[in-house]
């Protein structure tokens, strides 16, 4: 019964969403407040109904109700509770319901916290947002209903792919979807602004917190996904340029561009139609990501719900949402006249450069991901686009971006002082060049890329710190003054500093762990030992282990740096999941936050022993720490009081264009 109630609640949510599309928009067009005010209760109601529906499905997973088809297909009674819950979104139907739940959470949040928005604008935003809701709820009900029953109910479920039974992947999709779906808010704000024909600094401030929220979640989601790949897939890689990884990376790149261009709209009242375009593009890329994963047009290790019929429906949705918004854009965007002037050497000039490079990077990833599909569609040759392509195109694009990243924040608005900046960046420049040359000499000239990477990381980090020091006038006056300034620094400033420092940290982790890692691949038996990167790895013993739905063996390795006692004992294991008859190798990692010691036990060998892979990854932990620091920077910026939703008040537009919101 509960499941039927959930199904019914979803149908009701569709009705409410339809009301939310039509009535508020009509009200906004005819100027009738009563009709506009339908939007908020409708958005809340839609959220409550979808939440009921989600709870009903969750209940079926928790209680292992195998009379529900998706539960029977994807769950199993012996699965640990955490994976029973995450099993809900570990499959196509459930993950789409999670998608819609998050969509309605954002809608409800605007209804609750959007009191500062003008009523007509808010009505339009919520109406546009509900259009997306209608599309996706219909998609679920018509092609991917998770509430279907199966009769007779099987005695037990078919279980879940063991690879997915991992905490990292259990919480990866919710974060990713919080990001993907969160950009629907920026999209709705952009479409509403196009409908009104007006974009101004107040608009930029309203849209910023929602974009930031989505960006933080997506950053965290990508970080989790990458870390999962690192420790679950067992080959020590953290990014494979897989189409599904790219699908989450593209909205991240364009979302990052959007965050930066919205600042220009806010401070300088220019770059408006570009910012609107980025808002549309970012959500479009999120939808394309969904399409790529769901339709199976790109065969990928992740494409677990390959189904052309669903693909056709999503394509239709894509056509309506993206196509419709781009038609509106073509009609309305040309009238968004900028009022601010801008000079190439200025903060806004640097932000434009940032946007140009990030947009090009997005295009690069997009081309790389979709080009094989494109050639296939025109009956061209079959090609593969893998990591070497991105190394040749994407990576070089990042270099000028990172170089500019240290200098940009030092520039002032309107007209920057290049010689002044150069003087201030002398020390960071000298130090990072010294680091680049020094590390390159230390490494004996090999992996030049790593030296360049760490030099750039130092440049970005020191440049960011130089900017912070300048803002608080470090060593330029009494220290108490510096402290006072530190306290008075706006949260948005802190956010930028923290996020940029995070980029530097991630960059250092990526390049150093790639360039200077060491590996040992050999057959080992208990009692054997091997030296990798100066550390002695001793294979102590093996022991049987088991879990609720698997049995296996656990190996024990002691790692020492030559001293009397090992500095760590690692226990990688091999698990055989009885249901799927699948064996997984579980990695063991020791970290001191500066390097990872990574070991994984592979296939047993006919002559005895196992293939043991040992890696030493210097600075690898920084990859994910940096990502988390970026996300934290976003969160700090989000807490800025000036950006609280509704706080800014739209100012009258002055013909001279001098209406910039106070900086």
């Amino acid at each position: 019964m509960i499941i039927e109630a959930g199904h019914f609640a979803l149908v009701l949510a569709l009705m409410v969403a339809l009301v939310q599309v039509v009535i508020p928009l009509w009200g906004a067009t005819t100027g009738r407040r009563v009709l506009m005010d339908v939007a908020e209760p409708a958005a809340l109601m839609q959220f409550v109904l979808v939440a009921i529906s989600f709870a009903a499905l969750l209940n079926a997973y928790i209680t292992s109700d195998f009379s529900v088809l998706t539960v029977a297909e994807n769950s199993h009674s012996t699965k640990p509770m955490m994976y029973k819950i995450s099993g809900l979104w570990g499959n196509h139907e459930g993950s789409m319901l999670l998608w819609v739940l998050i969509l309605t959470i954002y809608g409800a949040a605007v209804a609750l916290f959007g009191a500062g928005l003008p009523p007509a604008f808010r009505a339009r935003v919520l109406s546009v947002h509900a259009m997306i809701g209608v599309g996706f709820i219909l998609f679920i009900l018509l092609t991917s209903n998770p509430f279907l029953r199966i009769s007779p109910a099987p005695p037990d479920g078919q279980g879940m792919n063991p690879v997915l039974q991992d905490p990292g992947l259990a919480f990866h999709p919710p974060f990713l979807y919080l990001g993907y779906v969160g950009f629907s808010m920026a999209f709705s704000f952009a479409v509403a602004a196009l409908l009104e024909g007006r974009v101004d600094p107040a608009w930029a401030r309203w849209v910023r917190p929602w974009t930031l929220l989505a960006w933080c979640a997506l950053t965290a989601g990508i970080c989790l996904g990458s870390f999962w790949a690192y420790y679950e897939l067992g080959w020590g890689g953290w990014w494979a340029w897989d189409p599904v990884e790219n699908a989450s990376f593209m909205p991240w790149l364009s979302g990052t561009a959007l965050l930066h261009s919205a600042i220009v709209v806010e401070k300088r009242d220019t770059l408006k139609s570009w910012t609107i375009f980025l808002a549309l593009l970012t959500f479009a890329l999120s939808l394309v990501g969904t399409f790529l994963v769901r339709s199976g047009v790109l065969t990928s290790v992740h494409a677990f719900a390959s189904d052309p019929e669903r693909g056709a429906f999503i394509l239709l949705l894509l056509g309506l949402v993206i196509g419709g918004s781009l038609v509106l854009y073509a009609i309305r965007a040309p009238i968004l006249t900028p009022t601010g002037q801008f000079a190439p050497v200025s903060r806004e000039g640097a932000l434009v450069l940032n946007n140009l490079l990030l947009a090009t990077a997005t295009v690069t990833v997009f081309l790389g991901t979709l080009y094989p599909l494109f050639l296939d569609a025109i009956n061209g040759p079959k090609v593969s686009v893998g990591a070497p392509y991105y190394m040749a195109t994407f990576v070089p694009l990042m270099v000028p971006l990172l170089v500019a990243m240290a200098a940009g924040p030092l520039l002032t608005w309107k007209r920057g002082d290049l010689p002044g900046i150069a003087a201030r960046l002398r020390v960071p420049f000298g130090v990072s060049v010294a680091i680049m040359v020094g590390t390159s000499l230390m490494a004996g000239g090999k992996s030049a890329l790593a030296s360049i990477g760490i030099g750039l990381a130092a440049w970005v980090f020191l440049g960011t710190m130089q900017d912070l020091a300048g803002r608080v006038r470090l060593f330029q006056g009494p220290f108490s003054d510096t402290l006072r300034r530190l306290g008075a620094l706006p949260r948005a400033s802190w956010g930028m500093t923290i996020a940029h420092a995070g980029v530097a940290i991630t960059l250092a982790g990526m390049t150093v762990s790639t360039g200077w890692s060491a590996e040992g691949i050999q057959v080992m038996k208990p009692g054997d030992q091997v030296v990798v990167a100066g550390d002695i790895w001793h294979f102590d013993s093996t022991a049987p282990v088991s879990g609720s739905n698997w049995k296996g063996m656990q190996a024990q390795f002691s790692v020492s740096d030559g001293g009397a006692r090992p500095f760590t004992v690692l226990t990688p294991s091999r698990r055989t999941y009885s249901l799927q008859q699948m064996t997984l190798a579980k990695v063991a990692i020791h970290t001191n936050h500066l390097a990872n010691w990574y070991v994984v036990v592979g296939d047993p060998q006919p002559q005895g022993g196992w293939i043991v892979r040992i890696y030493w990854h210097p600075l690898a932990p920084w990859i994910w720490y940096g990502f988390l620091i970026m996300a934290a920077g976003g969160a700090v910026s989000l807490s800025d009081r000036r950006l609280r939703i509704g706080a800014p008040v739209r100012r009258p537009v002055v013909a001279s264009g001098k209406s910039h919101a106070a900086a």
């Binding site: 080959w235 065969t299 290790v301 900028p338 295009v363 080009y371 079959k382 893998g386 892979r613």
Partner: protein, 160 residues
């Protein structure tokens, strides 16, 4: 484990499964000459594992990937250049085997697209800044306006 072909849906499931115990090079494959081995590793990263759809043969545990890694090493030991090894693979498996697609008429957009976008974007930005730096000259005053201006500019008589 041998890999065999399944129907597409099952194939996808299999792909997911085979992605899991992804093993790189096995100890018995490696060459004793570190220079050759390094070249073999680098080449392996540029060759696609045909049965895994998204991994290089360096990352893959598939049987075929193992065979191809062995062939790469045999060719290198026999004195082939890196390019000759790639040509050898391409002759058998087509462009699909190369993770870095060759630059030809079919891939111009792929290879030069990003730089075209960068260039185009740069030009547009350049034009926009130029346009904004030189606002259009004000329209000439109408007779009416000129008369008004004259009146305004005429020094007002000092109040006395």
């Amino acid at each position: 484990m041998r890999r065999f072909r399944l129907r597409p849906v099952a194939l996808l499931a299999l792909l997911f499964v085979t992605a899991a115990p992804a093993w790189a090079v096995n100890p018995d494959e490696r060459l004793s000459d570190p220079g050759l081995e390094a070249r073999a590793r680098a080449l392996s990263k540029e060759l696609r594992c045909m049965v895994c759809q998204n991994e290089s043969i360096d990352d893959s545990n598939a049987d075929l990937a193992h065979d191809l890694r062995v062939i790469v090493r045999q060719r290198l030991t026999a004195g082939d250049s890196d390019q000759q090894v790639l040509t050898y693979m391409r002759a058998r498996y087509g462009d699909f085997v190369l993770l870095k697609p060759p630059v030809d008429s079919a891939t111009w957009v792929l290879w030069f697209g990003p730089f075209a976008v960068l260039l185009l974007g740069g030009v547009v930005i350049g034009l926009m800044t130029r346009y904004r730096r030189e606002p259009p000259p004000p329209a000439p005053l109408s007779e009416d306006e000129a008369r008004q201006l004259q009146t305004l500019l005429k020094p007002e008589p000092e109040p006395s």
